[in-house]
């Protein structure tokens, strides 16, 4: 069995966390409108550009110079290039913008089409159309003279950053201890995934809004006759889905690959297939299912597939998406409602009973 070093393990956990927070958004939007939203991951890209712009604007406005020195904190070497509040403002902006773009799609595209009686196929195609519009807007945005000037002016402050190859990994927080070096984005991804699980659980089960969301999703007509503004509840659900994608977008800017609005190397284009896979494998109608499904697909691609390299050669890792698709195919064949629909208590009871028999 191939040894997986700690660095690769963290990388796999980062990727799995990213997939799980994006998959849950796909599920939330599917549960309300019954449509697979192909633009969902692009919400993250929009949030990336906004967060990057905010960082540069703040750096320029407050003349913030990147601090790339290592500091000793609690026995570890830590590098924090920017003040905490800059990261926080960028993160909040990404969260809000991701949510707002989702609400715009809901009110301007999906709701009007639904009112005209559009079927699920038409709605799905419309999400692709909205995705193309977002790509076009991002291309226009990154080539705006004002944006170019902003990046030129901030080079001396925070290092080389250009919007045609959005990459700010040099500005990421880095923690180093012994031979292990962990990037802040990796830790944040896991925190975001955990916060999403806890946050959504509390929202859906402990708040009035959550119960209204669940009831509107289960039976919109009955919710309407109880006086619930189902349209608004769905819009809030879309906001939450988009805002969670915004969290992923914030993480994208610290990725170690160059970003453009659309390209084979852009994270959003690389992972959209895996995000859908996570949502389907976990259960397209289950919030906890999709979180688990996203995490599972992430681990399959970045943790288990590399384990196969001693047998099939290192080239196997290029085919990690094949394994995700295989997981989707098997799920649809045997448990179409996803892993969340399985009665695990019964499965484990049966397993236990068989174990005793043998």
């Amino acid at each position: 069995m191939a040894a997986i070093d700690i660095q690769s393990t963290f990388q796999a956990l980062y990727y799995a966390s990213l997939l799980s927070i994006l998959s849950v958004g796909i599920t939330l939007s599917y549960m309300t409108t019954k449509v697979f939203n192909f633009a969902h991951v692009r919400f993250a890209m929009v949030a990336s550009y906004v967060a990057a712009t905010i960082i540069l604007l703040l750096a320029k406005a407050f003349n913030i110079h990147g601090d790339f020195a290592w500091h000793n904190m609690a026995g570890m070497q830590v590098r924090i290039p920017l003040p905490w509040w800059v990261y926080a403002v960028a993160l909040i902006s990404a969260f809000i913008v991701g949510g707002l773009v989702a609400v715009i799609q809901y009110y301007l595209v999906l709701r009007p089409l639904q009112k005209r009686g559009a079927g699920s196929m038409a709605l799905m195609i419309s999400t692709l159309g909205f995705d193309f519009i977002l790509i076009a807007i991002l291309f226009i945005y990154m080539t705006l003279p004002q944006i170019r000037r902003l990046t030129v002016k901030t080079v001396s402050l925070v290092g080389r950053v250009a919007f045609d190859s959005l990459r700010m990994d040099s500005l990421d927080i880095v923690i180093s201890s012994g031979s292990v070096t962990i990037r802040g984005a990796v830790i944040l991804a896991m925190i975001f995934a955990l916060a999403t699980i806890i946050g959504l659980y509390l929202l859906l089960t402990r708040t009035k809004l959550g119960v209204m969301m669940r009831s509107s999703i289960e039976n919109p007509n009955l919710a309407l006759v109880l006086g619930i503004n189902v349209d608004r509840v769905f819009a809030i659900t879309w906001f939450i889905a988009g805002a969670i994608a915004g969290l992923a977008g914030y993480l994208f800017i610290f990725a170690t690959v160059y970003l453009t609005p659309v390209s084979p190397t852009t994270p959003s284009d690389q992972i959209i297939v895996s995000v859908f896979a996570g949502s389907i494998v976990g259960g397209i109608n289950s919030v906890p299912g999709s979180i688990g499904g996203g995490f599972l697909i992430g681990l399959i691609e970045k943790f288990f597939v590399p384990l196969l390299s001693p047998v099939f050669g290192p080239g196997i890792v290029k085919y990690d998406k094949v394994f995700s698709m295989l997981a989707v195919a098997l799920t649809l064949l045997f448990i179409p409602e996803g892993l969340a629909s399985v009665n695990w208590k019964r499965v484990f009871r049966l397993g236990g009973a068989k174990g005793k028999e043998s």
Binding site: V211, M212, R214, S215, E218, N221, L222, L226, G227, I228
Partner: protein, 239 residues
């Protein structure tokens, strides 16, 4: 003559482009049970959906308590004192009985909500016993009781009930009809659409007979029940 609680004036409605109801004129008096009967596919549910804003109104007016509500969205009608018990999917089956009841009182002060719940439990004591049970696991009769309880908790001025006895055993259906009559005696204004014409007309005050999307007869419920010709022709009843 006192102003009716609700009136429909030359209403044509349906779903999207589909036209189902034609030139409906209807007046619902306050504090009475108005029964809507008719054969399958006559348009009874569409009539209730039209009143509550769940159908498309092509022309005509819906007047509620003297106000034109033709274009008021459904959720706002609920806040104006209307409640609607749907024929199908009329409870949240994945939620518990308690959660269903709480949802019906989400916009009501807590003390008032508790008071109303106690009133509901007096009428349907079985619901109190099933409070923490998933609504989807209730029996057919209990489900209908919960559905009516949800409407009752809204303390509506106008209550729409769509076939509350559908699929129930005769004994349970009788219990549900008795509960509805009890509500009528308490002063609720009720529009009851029923397939079980005999049972509904027996407890009703006023009645309309609807067929092929048009009102073909109206009058006192007892009179309609006694009308041999109409009963035989439209309701399959032998008087």
């Amino acid at each position: 003559m006192p102003e009716p609680m609700l009136s429909l004036q030359k209403v044509n409605s349906g779903y999207g482009k589909f036209h189902i109801l034609f030139d409906i004129d209807l007046e619902v008096p306050k504090g009475k049970i108005t029964v809507v009967v008719g054969p399958n596919g006559a348009g009874k549910t569409t009539l209730l959906n039209t009143i509550f804003g769940l159908a498309t109104i092509h022309s005509g007016k819906v007047i509620y308590k003297g106000r034109d509500i033709t274009h008021v969205p459904a959720y706002k009608r609920a806040k104006m004192g209307m409640a609607y018990t749907l024929q199908l999917f009329n409870i949240f089956s994945t939620l518990t009985v308690k959660e269903n009841l709480l949802l019906a009182t989400y916009d009501i002060p807590e003390d008032e909500a508790k008071k109303r719940m106690e009133e509901v439990f007096q009428l349907f004591p079985r619901l109190k016993e099933r409070l923490f049970q998933r609504a989807g696991t209730l029996s057919g009769g209990e489900r209908q009781m919960l559905a009516i309880a949800i409407s009752m908790l809204r303390k509506p001025e106008l209550m729409l009930l769509d076939e509350p006895t559908a699929g129930l055993a005769p004994k349970l259906a009788k219990e549900v009809f008795e509960a509805i009559r009890h509500l009528g005696d308490q002063g609720y204004t009720i529009i009851l659409a029923e397939q079980n014409a005999k049972g509904a007309l027996e407890i009703g005050d006023e009645a309309v007979l609807i067929a092929s999307g048009r009102i073909v007869a109206r009058g006192k419920a007892q009179e309609l029940l006694q009308d041999k010709d109409l009963s035989r022709k439209y309701l399959g009843l032998e008087v």
